[in-house]
């Protein structure tokens, strides 16, 4: 069949389709859609509009005093972001912070869950005690941490002095970073333990019995049976904590406020300082958008891994 004839047939079919669609009466939105519309509009107003506003502000210089004004700035803010060594340094600190907190929380959370799983007597009480830090406001955790590490009255500072550490925990870049990581780990390890424990409870008993019958030891059972079974749950825990760690703010604000020497100035602290201390809203919008992009990429990586393992179904 010649090519022109094919094209004619396709065109005729398309025209028929258009006429058919034109004749079909427009269906009114379903009852469900109508019921959901107010909520969808509200959601759009709460998330989509601010997002679009953020993108717009990223290309402007925002003047706040004497009435809100936006002065077009082109790609200045984006250019500045790419050449700003302070922002680069904050991303580096954020990355180190993310790796340390996630690593420690996952390790300690899984160990705690395994211990809790084996406890039979008084499990409820131990469980309640373990979960306690999670229910505190982060600002309180920060205050507690500050008092405990205070070089004049702090219990931990006193213990560390006994061990030969003469400095001030929050006065040295390395120890300050370790301290804020430890505070976050103390507060959120219970969440990882809780999620892991839920996964452990779902490991099929016959599978464990079969492993025992086959002579598998504790470590071998963990490696070959338990971890493969709960890996989806562990990834979810990792995802939840990673998303949280990217926007960590309260504890650092109350303890070090980014110091000393910017050693704990992670990107949310830098963003806050840029927006609310220096009033550079346009530039802060760009920093925020990059944070958002980073979070989306991170979430997609986790969801991708879950998908490849067939765990998102």
């Amino acid at each position: 069949m010649p090519l022109s004839s094919d094209l004619e047939q396709v065109a005729t079919a398309a025209a028929r389709g258009v006429r058919a669609r034109a004749r079909t009466p427009v269906r009114p939105p379903s009852f469900e859609l109508r019921m959901m519309t107010p909520a969808l509009v509200l959601l759009a107003a709460l998330s989509l509009l601010p997002f679009l506003m953020l993108v717009y502000m990223g290309f402007t210089e925002v003047k706040l005093l004497g009435g809100l004004r936006f002065e077009y700035a082109g790609v200045d803010n984006w250019q500045r972001l790419l050449t700003d060594p302070d922002v680069r340094a904050s991303w580096l600190v954020s990355f180190v912070y993310l790796v340390l907190t996630l690593g420690a929380e996952m390790l300690l959370g899984v160990v705690t869950a395994l211990v809790l799983y084996r406890i039979t007597r008084g499990r409820g009480l131990v469980f309640a005690l373990v979960l306690l830090p999670m229910f505190l406001a982060p600002i309180i955790v920060g205050l507690l941490g500050r008092f405990l590490t205070d070089s004049t009255i702090g219990l931990y500072a006193w213990v560390l002095r006994g061990l030969g550490f003469e400095g001030d925990v929050l006065g040295n870049g390395t120890t300050a970073l370790i301290a804020v990581v430890a505070m976050d780990v103390w507060q959120w390890t219970p969440l990882v333990a809780l999620i892991t424990l839920a996964g452990l409870s779902a490991v099929p008993q016959p599978l464990l019995e079969a492993a025992a019958v086959d002579g598998a030891g504790y470590w071998q059972t963990l490696r070959s049976v338990v971890f493969p079974t709960i890996q989806g749950v562990l990834l979810v825990a990792l995802l939840v904590r990673a998303m949280d760690a990217v926007r960590f703010f309260d504890i650092i604000t109350i303890t070090t406020n980014g110091g000393p020497a910017d050693a704990t100035k992670i990107i949310p602290i830098r963003l806050y300082e840029t927006a609310f201390r220096f009033r550079e809203i346009g530039y802060a919008s760009v920093i925020g958008l990059v944070m958002l992009l980073f979070s989306i990429i991170l979430a997609n990586v986790f969801v991708g891994v879950l998908g490849r393992k067939g765990l998102t179904k």
């Binding site: 706040l64 005093l65 009435g67 070089s151 004049t152 001030d168 006065g171 980014g258 020497a261 201390r277």
Partner: protein
């Protein structure tokens, strides 16, 4: 049946929609209103102090001595004016952020603003009312004893910016950094210290920063049973670090800009290139770094409150700190603390001035402006300043000349004193002399400059960079921020 259901659902949704819209509109209107009593000002006439009765105003302040004293005793103002005053106190950094947000919102959540000359007045002067609207206006009560009663240089520094004809704030407090020391320990070790060091260690303006260092080191080595460290500093990565360092910078003959101390009163739009790479500035940075090397290790985590707490807890023998902490010192260590102006450097003794004014948010309604003026007037009056000075919870730092001339204030310079902050009077008067006072540059970009400075100083004292490199980086950042 189905149809009637649809109708009733629609009616229900319409009702909910209308209710929600009404609620949102009410919330929006309430937010715009800001407080009770907003709107136009009542006509003049009658008792001018009662003209705005029924109005509510909000005062945002740093958690500082006079505000604590006023917050604990607002009744006299409320009785006098019929105005309700809400006082919100917070750490200075948070105050600056909140004020910035409030000005930006275009509404007046806060009507009376604690206007730090450097962090609030300079960057936000457009957001403050020019008080000439009230001064000399017969419809409003005038400041008792006139503006002339305010210490003149402080009225200039705390109240004006760029234009000497405009007045944005009335001087409210006047903390100044001086040398605070454990007089009991200096007395106990005086002779031994004098023998070892070869000079009289009694703190005074005649001693040098080098001698201060030697005294601190002597305490570290010889008085561990009485005190953990000789000196402590407010060297947290915070505004306080800039304040602590500035004393040294000026004492060594350095300054932030070519205009030097001249920029500390009226301020400037264009301060020019930074002079922090000068030999004097680098020498000051080197000495400060050395001093922090022997200071209490907690210094790197302390702001002014932290160093005051450590001093009062007996952790350090001496420190430079704001004189308003004298009231707390006397409570914790009664009779054991002495005060002197800060030591000299190669150039002079420099004692940083940290005074602040209070101003009115320009977004206020007419009635709120009037009510806010009455509060400004009352809070800075000689009688109220005397009340804050004597307060159990506060211990103010008066900005009125006439307060210092009162016989009971004169008498309080000697122990036992009912006005403990006045025990610092001799040291503070010496510190206030033009040749000894230290004034930061008043520029609109100060918040950025300040952050760049204290961040780099923090890097220096934690060993991340050398003093000369730190000063070079700060100077470069100053020039970038000021676009010169």
């Amino acid at each position: 049946m189905n149809g009637s259901h649809q109708v009733s659902r629609r009616a229900l949704l319409r009702g909910i929609g209308a209710g929600a819209a009404g609620a949102l509109a009410y919330a929006a209107l309430s937010a715009c209103g800001g407080s009770e009593g907003g709107g136009s000002a009542p006509a003049a006439g009658g008792d001018p102090w009662k003209r705005f009765q029924g109005t509510t105003i909000n005062f945002i302040s740093e958690n500082t001595a006079p505000s604590a004293a006023i917050a604990a005793n607002t009744k006299p103002f409320e009785d006098l004016t019929g105005i309700k005053i809400n006082i919100q106190q917070m750490e200075l950094t948070k105050l600056v952020e909140n004020v910035s947000l409030d000005f930006s919102s275009g509404t007046a959540g806060y009507h009376v603003i604690y206007a730090d000359p450097y962090q609030v007045l300079a960057p936000f002067s457009e957001g403050l009312v020019d008080l000439n609207e009230f001064v000399g206006n017969s419809d409003f009560p005038q400041p008792e004893k006139g503006l002339e009663d305010f210490i003149p240089s402080q009225l200039q520094a705390a109240g004006r910016f760029l234009d000497s004809d405009k007045l944005y704030a009335l001087p409210y407090d006047t903390p100044t950094m001086i040398w605070q020391y454990r007089a009991d320990l200096f007395e106990k070790y005086h002779d031994k210290m004098a023998d070892d060091l070869g000079f009289d260690p009694t703190p005074s303006i005649n001693l040098t920063w080098d001698q201060y260092f030697q005294i601190a080191e002597w305490f570290n080595k010889n008085a561990k049973d009485d005190v953990a460290y000789g000196t402590g500093h407010q060297a947290k990565q915070h505004d306080s670090l800039q304040c602590d360092f500035s004393n040294l910078l000026w004492a060594y003959g350095g300054d932030y800009f070519e205009g030097g101390q001249e920029l500390g009163t009226l301020g400037t739009k264009s301060p020019g290139k930074s002079t922090l790479t000068s030999d004097a500035a680098v020498a000051a940075a080197e000495f400060y770094n050395k001093l922090l090397g022997i200071a209490h290790p907690g210094s790197r985590t302390w702001d002014w409150d932290g160093v005051a707490n450590a001093f009062q807890a007996g952790q350090i023998a001496m420190c430079p700190n704001w004189h308003e902490f004298a009231a707390g010192n006397e409570k914790a260590l009664p009779g054991k603390v002495g005060y002197a102006p800060l030591p000299k450097g190669p150039a002079r003794s420099a004692n940083i001035w940290g005074g602040t004014g209070i101003g009115i948010n320009a977004n206020c309604s007419e009635a709120e402006r009037g009510a806010a003026w009455l509060f400004l007037n009352w809070a800075t009056s000689p009688e109220t300043q005397f009340m804050t000075l004597a307060s159990e919870v506060g211990g103010g730092t008066p900005t009125r000349t006439s307060v210092y001339q009162r016989p009971e204030v004169e008498e309080a310079k000697k122990r036992p004193s009912k006005l403990p902050n006045i025990l610092t009077a001799d040291a503070v008067n010496e510190a206030w002399k033009p040749e000894n006072i230290g004034l930061r540059p008043k520029v609109a970009t100060w918040n950025q400059l300040n952050t760049a400075l204290f961040t780099e100083l923090s890097r220096m004292i934690t060993g991340a960079v050398k003093p000369d490199a730190a000063m070079r980086t700060v100077a470069q950042k100053f020039d970038e921020i000021n676009k010169v």
